[in-house]
Symmetry: C2
């Protein structure tokens, strides 16, 4: 799959087939995150791969829209230094770049994903065994789609603003 095709066709998948990820596929996803460029190459991230079913169901309680984690084949919890400090913008920008690499690498392998925003940081920290100075603000679900037609479905009309709305030339 060409990069552009992956970028243009990827969609959020929240319902997954009941089978684990091929080990090579999970490794590819993690390497896609690992390879990501970051500010001053600081690589301020650790990726915790969760595949145990009970652990996934527990993680689904960390946020209001995190329920998809319960049915994921694997979750990747994205852990960083505290993003509430002065470096937070840069940490989150870098982390978003890594996440997109993982999402695209997965999609090319026929694996869907959905991001979950962590609301309950205390619970996430406890479930993931995080040291006090580490934070998990986002967790990605991965899995083969329950409905494989999602892999080839056309983009929904109106799902994104038009280019005219989103871009300017030279100045605002």
């Amino acid at each position: 799959m060409e990069a552009w095709q992956a970028i243009n066709s990827v969609r959020v998948v929240r319902e997954f087939a009941n089978r684990p990820l091929e080990p090579d596929h999970l490794t590819r996803i993690l390497n896609a995150g690992r390879r990501t460029g970051s500010s001053k190459n600081a690589q301020r991230w650790v990726f915790i791969a969760v595949q145990d079913g009970e652990h996934l169901r527990q993680l689904a309680a960390v946020g209001r829209y995190a329920g998809h984690l319960a049915g994921a084949a694997a979750a990747v919890a994205l852990v960083t230094p505290d993003p509430n400090g002065p470096r937070g913008k840069s940490i989150m920008w870098d982390l978003g770049r890594a996440a997109q690499n993982m999402v695209l690498a997965a999609w090319e392998l026929g694996i869907g994903s959905a991001p979950a925003t962590v609301y309950d940081h205390v619970l996430a920290g406890r479930l993931l065994g995080l040291p006090a100075e580490q934070d998990c603000s986002f967790i990605l679900s991965f899995g083969y789609p329950a409905d494989t037609s999602e892999l080839t479905a056309p983009n929904r009309r109106g799902g994104r603003r038009s280019l005219d709305e989103v871009m300017r030339e030279e100045r605002w």
Copy 2:
């Protein structure tokens, strides 16, 4: 180019050939950003494409490591609502995802890129004509590499931490 190949091979390019981007190529890059998934599909971004040489040279003064903007064929200034408020983490995470999509789409077309962090937000706001409630924290340079061998150069050894260092299973 397969998505994985783009993810794995893309590198920062800071020196660019002295020719403009093909219009179709710039449009592809902007559409890659536009197509990006975001929290609640909020699409909290505007992309300002800068191609005027004098404007690019002025923008190169917004940060300590932003000099590469002066020689870019085009810059894309990423504009968002104020990321210093409570939604800032989510805004920057989404923006990083859009940036990575643009970087990968460009790379597949033989276009290099480099991110610039904005240090002087007042100057950036003035040069880009931003309303007071809008912020530009990152600007991407794009251009065909001055040294085209950069497009196919192997990854540098030691450029990224190993997978063992970066990943954990189930818990920290």
